[in-house]
Amino acid sequence: MEVITLERKVLAKNDEIAAENRRLFSDKKLLVVNLLSSPGAGKTSLLERTLENCRDRAKIGVVVGDIQTDNDARRIDIYQAPVVQIITSGSCHLDSKMVQSAVEKLNLDALDILIIENVGNLVCPTNFDLGEHYRVVVLSTAEGTDKPLKYPAMFHRADCVIINKIDLLPFTNFSVDEARTSISGLNSGAVIIETSCRTGEGIDIWCKWLFGKIIKQRVTA
């Protein structure tokens, strides 16, 4: 018997394509955000609010991933933003290859920001780099304060965490302080923003964060 040393990352192939994607996005001076959350936390609502708030100031393109239906793409279509729907037909996450094919359908030169709405899931998308510049994780107050500790890997890799449905706080036992402490414990660098996509609270802070990143991208790219 002999031992063959491989020392190969299991997701090496995905990482390689992700690096290609990132290079393309940076060349085009395009800011790319991977938007993640569990189902129903408010990813699509956040996208709608973002498009509403930012459309006069920036050209935003959207890639939406869903296991089935193009409902999300149709919701976005109303805002006349270029949108590509990826239907994964069962797969619980997007991978870099799917994103590579999807962005071929967009005119990247005409965009300032590309937001990739991942499949609603806090587990599977964690390890799949898509080539994004920033990861944004949405957590809603209806989900429970312990979410970050239950899905540590997801929150560890987030650049920004949105605590959404803040208007529902009086009806839940969610503790914003406790959630902030556990997120910072996993990831001291994450920016935490409280929003309500229903009332619009905090959306301007979120858009400010986004615009700060566009400027940073243009300066460094």
Binding site: I4, V10, C124, Y151, G185
Partner: protein
């Protein structure tokens, strides 16, 4: 009636049907959970190495799972055992080593082993730390018989 030679000529067709059946079955299974997707990636990488190195028998696949990857070892084992049936990797054991999360403090320079995902320097209690280990999923090696080693 079919003659024996006619049945013989149909043999490749039977094999093709069997392969198709396995492929369809597996593609359904692969999408059912997170760990099956990862099992598939391991499978592809190892199969590639097995074919390249002219392996005639595979005993074990040694993999390291960083705790930060949040991969369930039991589910991965289960997924992998289904994937390898009827393939050149059949019979291979997946030997999983869990790698604890280690962090380097950017303030005092100490290295800490992180427990319960609480990223904190154990010496100065700073949260300004960088994860240096336990964040990857790697295939370290495979234990095999190759054409060469078998004859020797």
């Amino acid at each position: 009636m079919w003659s024996y030679s006619q049945i013989e000529t149909l043999k490749p067709l039977f094999i093709l049907v069997k392969i198709l059946y396995i492929v369809v079955l597996k593609s359904i299974l692969v999408f059912e959970m997170h760990e099956l997707g990862i099992a598939q990636q391991i499978f592809d990488t190892v199969l590639d190495a097995v074919q390249r190195e002219k392996v005639i028998r595979i005993y074990s696949i040694n993999i390291n799972i960083g705790e930060l990857m949040a991969v369930d070892a039991e589910s991965l084992q289960f997924g992998f055992s289904i994937l390898i049936e009827g393939t050149p990797l059949a019979g291979a054991v997946l030997a999983i080593r869990t790698v604890p999360i280690k962090a380097l403090c950017n303030d005092c320079g100490a290295e800490s082993v992180i427990e319960h995902y609480n990223l904190l320097c154990s010496r100065c209690k700073s949260r300004n730390v960088t994860v240096i280990d336990g964040k990857d999923l790697t295939i370290s090696s495979i234990e095999v018989d190759t054409n060469g080693s078998h004859n020797a």
